[in-house]
């Protein structure tokens, strides 16, 4: 009896992706660099707990798009909403510098392809993670140290190298420090820009493992940019294919990678195979 009503309610519920409000909504993003239009009217929606993969060749605008989503650069046009407490229906692009930084610090984490973009190479690894906490007004040394340690541990960084400089770490470990820094404040949104591109295949697999575990444990929403379809296939629920600043195809990962509709996507998938 009880079971039937449960089943009924489950059946009547529409799929989560349809009923939930997206965590991230970007409408009609346009970004130009001089005569080059890097992003030409892109719409993005990412739902809570979802992993969105963005693929495309070099220069397709995928990294530019990620920088826009991280509020690092301002698009010429567009609206950007994050469904966060206190920011419902607030176009983040219209916020001032101070509040944009608050959003970036507290709610968005980012891992860059090149560690030197995301890390202070001559500060200690734990210091790099602590920076995030300091930005969020933590002023207790003991608390900072504990949080940095916890964050580095959950990104599977060897804790005996806690206070080594990123300069002296391997590429894989540098990426783990970046990841620890990105998740230190438990952000709702994690942006990954080719997080494993510089790494050899075995290390790449380990980092992907960590990412997958984090995503599962923390139910974190991820946007991952990569030209490596293997990475996308492993992590992403949904895929967006970009070319010349436009989104040319979008859909579930399996659907797009197994049965690509656009000529370019077909080429891309076949090139991989």
């Amino acid at each position: 009896m009880l079971a039937t009503s449960n089943i009924n309610s489950i059946i009547l519920q529409s799929p989560i992706l349809v009923s939930a409000t997206p965590l991230l909504r970007a409408n009609n993003f346009v970004k130009r660099y001089g005569r080059v239009t890097a992003v030409a009217g892109v719409d993005v929606a990412v739902y809570p707990g979802e992993v969105l993969g963005i693929v495309g060749e070099s220069g397709s605008g995928k990294s530019s798009l990620l920088r826009l989503l991280n509020l690092e650069e301002k698009p010429e046009q567009g609206e950007y909403y994050l469904d966060l407490k206190g920011y419902h229906n607030v176009n983040l692009l219209e916020l001032d510098r101070f509040h944009q930084r608050q959003v970036r610090i507290h709610h968005i984490g980012i891992v860059y392809q090149h560690p030197h973009l995301g890390l202070r190479m001559r500060h200690t690894s734990s210091g790099n993670v602590a920076e995030r906490l300091i930005m969020a007004n933590e002023r207790s040394f003991a608390a900072m140290r504990a949080a940095a340690r916890a964050s580095l541990a959950s990104s599977e960084f060897p804790l005996d190298r806690l206070d080594d400089l990123p300069l002296r770490l391997s590429g894989g470990m540098q990426q783990r420090v970046q990841l620890a820094k990105a998740i230190a404040l438990k952000p709702e949104l994690l942006l990954l820009d080719e997080p494993t591109s510089g790494l050899d295949v075995s290390v790449q697999a380990l980092v992907l493992d960590t990412l997958k575990r984090l995503q599962r444990e923390r139910h974190i929403t991820i946007v991952i940019v990569s030209h490596d379809l293997g990475v996308i296939r492993t992590l992403a629920d949904r895929v967006m294919v970009m070319r010349h600043g436009h989104v040319i195809e979008t859909g579930l990962t399996d659907q797009v990678l197994e049965d690509p509709q656009e000529a370019y996507t077909q080429q891309l998938v076949h090139a991989k195979l």
Binding site: R97, G127, R139, S140, A142, D163
Partner: protein
């Protein structure tokens, strides 16, 4: 009657060397600096007959403020008689025909390089500190434009990252001089390269402190009775240099900022760094008339604002 008789007699220099326009500009900048405690006000740093880096910033402020009734004291690292102090004092005295002194309590204007006098200054006195590098964010932000933005946003978090790194690497704060402070709960300020020992002296002080960098063309101020707090963690606190166990060779004083004099056998002897204050103590020791004033630190090393130093 000729025109020559009507005009004021020709002089080689204006009073106090700087021309009136320059002095007026400086005074306006000083007023602005006092109005916004700790904020760096740009000014047109004039040429002077000493080189940049030798106290041109402090000298310009002194020259713009000095009047015939002022009494001047010039300090170089606590010392009244070192080359820099002696030259600046002679220059100011010659250009403004003012009385000079080594007594910190008698002086109306005190220009100083890298020290605050040991004796508590009182209301109406002006302490002018020479500053080599006015930007406290220089170490963490190379771009001056970006640093200005950070001041505007009061975005000083990176300074605490610096403290974190010091604690991790050395187990303590290692900034010796120029320890960054927050003035009036708003602006981050470099107090010029005074030792940590002197930093608390700026907090809720009765006197006005003006800081001026001639090469960098910026001046800023700590008005009387203004909060000045060094940056620190809630659980690891700022501390001053430990002077315990150090006794002045000449005056027998303790718990004052000491000069260390290394000896051939590897040991050290100490003398009080503030020579004006030491002279008073010596006079007193020899039974002459001298009344050393109350100091910022008492003989047990306790700072005069109880509870300000948490160590």
């Amino acid at each position: 009657m000729t025109l020559a008789e009507l005009a004021s007699p020709p002089k080689d220099y204006s009073y106090a060397f700087l021309d009136e326009f320059a002095k007026r500009e400086l005074r306006r900048r000083i007023l602005k600096a006092i109005a916004i405690p700790g904020y760096q006000v740009p000014y047109a740093s004039r040429e002077l007959p000493i080189a940049r880096g030798w106290g041109t910033g402090g000298l310009q402020v002194t020259l713009s403020l000095v009047g015939p009734k002022d009494i001047i004291k010039v300090i170089d690292q606590g010392d009244d008689d070192s080359v820099n102090a002696a030259n600046l004092r002679r220059f100011i005295a010659r250009m403004a025909s003012v009385e000079t002194t080594t007594d910190a309590l008698r002086a109306t204007l005190i220009q100083s390089r890298h020290r605050v006098p040991e004796e508590r200054l009182s209301e109406g006195q002006v302490l002018i500190l020479q500053v080599p590098q006015p930007e406290p964010l220089r170490g963490v932000e190379h771009s001056a434009a970006k640093a200005q933005e950070m001041h505007a946003d009061a975005d000083y978090a990176l300074m605490w990252l610096g403290l974190y790194e010091q604690l991790v690497r050395y187990g303590k704060f290692v900034t010796g001089a120029s320890y960054p402070v927050i003035v009036h709960k708003r602006h981050l300020m470099s107090p010029s390269p005074i030792p940590r020992w002197d930093t608390p002296s700026l907090h809720q002080a009765a006197h006005l402190t003006l800081l001026s960098a001639g090469r960098e063309k910026r001046l800023y101020a700590v008005p009387p009775y203004t909060d000045v707090y060094p940056i620190e963690f809630t659980d690891v606190h700022f501390s001053v240099e430990d002077q315990s166990g150090r006794v002045c060779e000449l005056s027998g004083a303790t718990q004052k900022f000491m000069n260390e004099i290394p000896q051939a056998d590897g040991s050290s002897r100490y003398t009080v760094s503030d020579t004006g204050y030491a002279a008073k103590l010596l006079k007193q020791k020899h039974g002459e008339a001298a009344t050393p004033g109350a100091t910022y630190y008492d003989d047990n090393g306790e700072f005069y604002h109880a509870g300000y130093l948490k160590h």
